[in-house]
Structure formats: C-alpha cells, structure tokens
C-alpha cells in the first residue's frame, strides 16, 4: 500500500547507501541541504504549532495521507546538557572557594587571605564544595540524558542563577563579621546529619534512575524502590531526587543560619516543585498502572 521507505543502493554493488524510514533520516537530509541547521536545532512537526517529531519516529506510522507535509522550525543555537551542567556547577565550586580564601577586593584589605575563626565556616565550605563536586561527577559518570541539547541562551540564564546565588551566599558565610548559629554545636551537628543523609539519598536516587535505562537508550520506566533504603522514598514520591535536594539545602541553611541560603533554598524548592509536578503528570499520562500513593515532591503534601 503506502511505503515510506526510500532505499538508495549502489548500482554496481547493490550495497545500501542510504535508507529513509525514520524522522531522524529527514534531519540528516535537511542538514546536508542546509549545513547551518545541524540536527539538534531542527524541529519537524506535522502541524505548525504541534509537537516536534522524534528522531526515532517511523515515517510509515505517521498519521498522514498520500502526501505528507512537514513543518520545520529552527530551535536556535543549541548547547549540550553536559556542557551546561559542567559550567553551571564548576562556577559555584570555584566562586565559593574564592570567598572562603578571602581573595582580595571582596572584603576589607586587612582580611585578605585570612581564614575564619569559626569552625562551622570551614565545615560549610567542605559541604558546599562536596555538593558541587558530587554534581560534576554525576554529570560526567551517572546521568543519562534524554535530550542531548538545550537552547544556547539557557546557559547564560542558568549560570547567572547558580553563580549569582553562590557568590551571594559565600559572601556572607565567609564574611569577617559572620555570626555562627544561635544554638551552636547542637544546631550544626543536626544540620550536618540532615545534609549528609540527603546527599547520600540524592545520590542513591540518581543511581537508581540510571539503572532504569540501559546505556544509549531513551526508554522511560516507572522507578521503584530498590534494596537501598534511601530509595524506599519512591513509595511516596515521584521525584525523590528533588526531595533530597531540598533536604540538603535545608540542612545547609540550618548549618550556616544565613538568610541568602534560605532564599536560595526557597527559590530552588519552587523550581523543583514545578519540575516535579510536570514529571509526575507525564508519568501518570504515560503509565496506566502508575502508583497512586505517590506525590510529586513532598509525601502527601505537594
């Protein structure tokens, strides 16, 4: 009946030179005609305002008649997720250390290269640095990304956010006039336990999510609790990585008793809730048997 496969064979050897049966082939084809539009920035859809077709969509299965009209949109310059993450996270790591070591021109000259007399300040630096080193390593070795790229302007937006907040927090925590937490050692100890617990939790979730997806694939499956107790939170929450992330920053806020840290935690929480709700909704849409006990980010609450 209708065939949407195009084969081009070598006339002499009958070797298959190229084969058009997936949307991805069209991306390649357009790229050869218009080299400025590399595949990552192409969006092809059946309706000008509709959803983009995916690379692996099979042409034969598309809902078209005897002639197919595709609509093309240039998504703009793209940048890889890995690049964005590495830049986003390297910034706070280095910026915080600059404030910690009291590099000149930040505080009054008599404080240049001095160290804080409060041990919680050293602890905070270790925690903050550990957090971002963990994120960098996870980006390189743990995460499996569904989309290769995002729009280029995102890197400016994201870096402004991460770097800006890191500088703002670090300025006060490492300030010569920093005031340690009111409840002293008790408060700091509790905060550290919460922080470490949530860091391990967050890492456990990242590993569990990675193991859902074989290397190189883009399959989506429902995550379930594993043998690791830190993953048992999957019983109650769709995106426990965000739950643990919130917990880590609450711990850090408690540890430093610093208003800018609380502000950063709040803004992050709002953003992660938006993401968690979206992910939760798409889980519900995609899987008929999705567990009903789960909430997006906070058990039973949100």
């Amino acid at each position: 009946m209708k065939h949407y496969e195009v084969e081009i064979l070598d006339a002499k050897t009958k070797d298959k030179l190229c084969f058009l049966d997936k949307v991805g082939n069209i991306f390649t084809f357009i790229f050869t005609l218009y080299p400025q539009w590399y595949p990552a920035r192409q969006s092809i859809r059946l309706d000008p305002k509709g959803k983009s077709l995916k690379d692996e969509d099979v042409l034969q299965h598309l809902p078209v008649g005897t002639t197919a009209t595709f609509y093309f949109r240039d998504l703009g310059a793209q940048i890889s997720w890995v690049t964005v993450f590495l830049t986003e996270y390297a910034g706070p790591l280095l910026i915080y250390l600059m404030f910690y070591f009291r590099v000149p021109f930040i505080y009054a000259p008599k404080y240049d290269f001095t160290t804080s007399k409060h041990w919680v300040v050293h602890l905070a630096c270790m925690c903050h640095s550990f957090h971002y080193v963990k994120r960098l390593l996870e980006t390189l070795f743990v995460h499996r990304f569904s989309h290769g790229t995002m729009p280029l302007r995102n890197i400016f937006k994201n870096c402004t956010y991460y770097w800006g907040f890191a500088a703002w927090m670090a300025y006060y925590i490492n300030h010569p006039l920093y005031t340690p937490p009111i409840y002293g050692e008790q408060q700091i100890r509790l905060a550290l336990i919460v922080f470490l617990f949530c860091q391990i939790g967050n890492f456990s979730i990242h590993i569990a999510l990675r193991n859902l997806r074989p290397p190189g694939s883009k399959t989506r499956k429902i995550p379930y609790p594993t043998k690791n107790p830190f993953t048992w939170i999957f019983l109650l929450v769709s995106c426990p990585n965000y739950t643990y992330e919130l917990g880590s920053w609450l711990g850090f806020t408690l540890m430093t008793q610093c208003l800018p840290v609380a502000a950063f935690t709040l803004v992050g929480f709002i953003q992660m809730t938006v993401w968690a709700k979206g992910k939760h909704r798409s889980y519900l849409k995609e899987f008929r048997d999705y567990p009903t006990l789960r909430s997006p980010i906070l058990p039973f609450i949100l």
Partner: protein
Amino acid sequence: MSAPAMGTRKTAHTDSSNKKKKGPGTLAIAYLVIYNVVMTAGWLVIAVGLVRAYLARGSYHGLYYSIEKPLKFFQTGALLEILHCAVGIVPSSVVLTGFQVMSRVFLTWAVTHSVREVQSEDSVLLFVVAWTVTEIIRYSFYTFSLLNHLPYLIKWARYTFFVVLYPMGVAGELLTIYAALPYVQKTGLYSITLPNNYNFSFDYHTFLILVMISYIPLFPQLYFHMIRQRKKVLGHVEEYSKVE
C-alpha cells in the same frame, strides 16, 4: 483504506484556537467597568486637587501635600490590576503589569512617602502630573473599550500623550530618587548591617542607585514598544481613510 485527508487538520486547529479565546463574562465586565470608572474619578480628583491648590497658593511648589492621600490610595489601588491579569479577566501579562504597578507603588511609598525631605521637591510634581494625565486617559480608555463605545479622541490621546508624558514621568521619578539618596545614606533608611543573626545585609542607598541604572535598559524598551503600538493602532485608521 485511505488515510483521512489533510484538509480536516486545519479546521480542527482553528476550532481549538477559538475555544481558547473565552474572555471575561458579563459579571467580570461589569466589575471592570466599575473599577475603571472609579479609578478615572480618583485621578480626576487628584487633578482637580492639584489645580485648586495651585490657584490657592499661587505657586506650584509643594503641591504634593494637597493630593498626598488620594494619590496613595488610587495608585496603591492599581495593585488590583495584577489580580485582574492573574485571574484572567484582563488579557495582559501578569509579569508586565506587576512590574509596571510595582514600580509606581515603589516610588509612591518607598521613596516619596518614606523620605520626607523629597516631598517638597519640584521633581515630585513632575511625575505626579505625568501620572495623573496618563491615568485619567488610560482608565477612561479602558472604560469606553469595555462598553464598546470608544471615542477616537480617547484612543488618540492614549496613544499620543505618552510621547511627552512618559519621558516627563521618568525624569520626575529619577530626579526624585536622586534627591532622596543623601538622606537615605545619612539615616541608613531600610538598611541592615552586619553583624546580625541572619547573616544578611542590605544597603538601600546602593539599591536605589541600581534602580536608577535599571531605567537605562528598561525605559527605551517600554517607550519604543508604545511607539510601535501607536503605529499599529492609529496607523491603520489612516489607511482606511486613504482607501475611501
């Protein structure tokens, strides 16, 4: 056996776009008419107050005091417009409206009200007059639009007066903030210093300077947006008369 024709896709698309444009119901329109009438009246009160005070005193110095209360009341009342956008009875962006109203409210309360010494400045009169004329035109424009009886004069005024009033208002605002700077620095108004238990500091003086700087990128964008709107709204009316 043949697949559905491509033609059906187009109508389905327009159907869905028609469904989206619901618009406000009759109750909402009634409320908005009342709101805009009240606001028009309020700003007229301020206009009349300014004129009467000027005639009584014989000078335009220190007229702020004669309209201080209605100015605060009606300018603050404009916060409702953010709600209107959020609820959906007005088709504007919440962020844009919020930004515009908050900047007015900021100037009214956080600068003019808070720094008593600037209240007698002439720059205050500059932005108060600009705001008053603009708002009378703007709110009557909305009122008539809602009632589907918009006189061309009001439409023309709305899209023409801003050419002078907008820069006038901005000048008044900037000069007022500038006048407030030394007093803010001297008294440490709204500022928090280290050390404190929350490990946070805020310098209102520096903040005001940053606000003034932000006018540089923002004002041209808003101004030229209105100029483009003017061409669009008033422009094609001229075209129609050419056709005739």
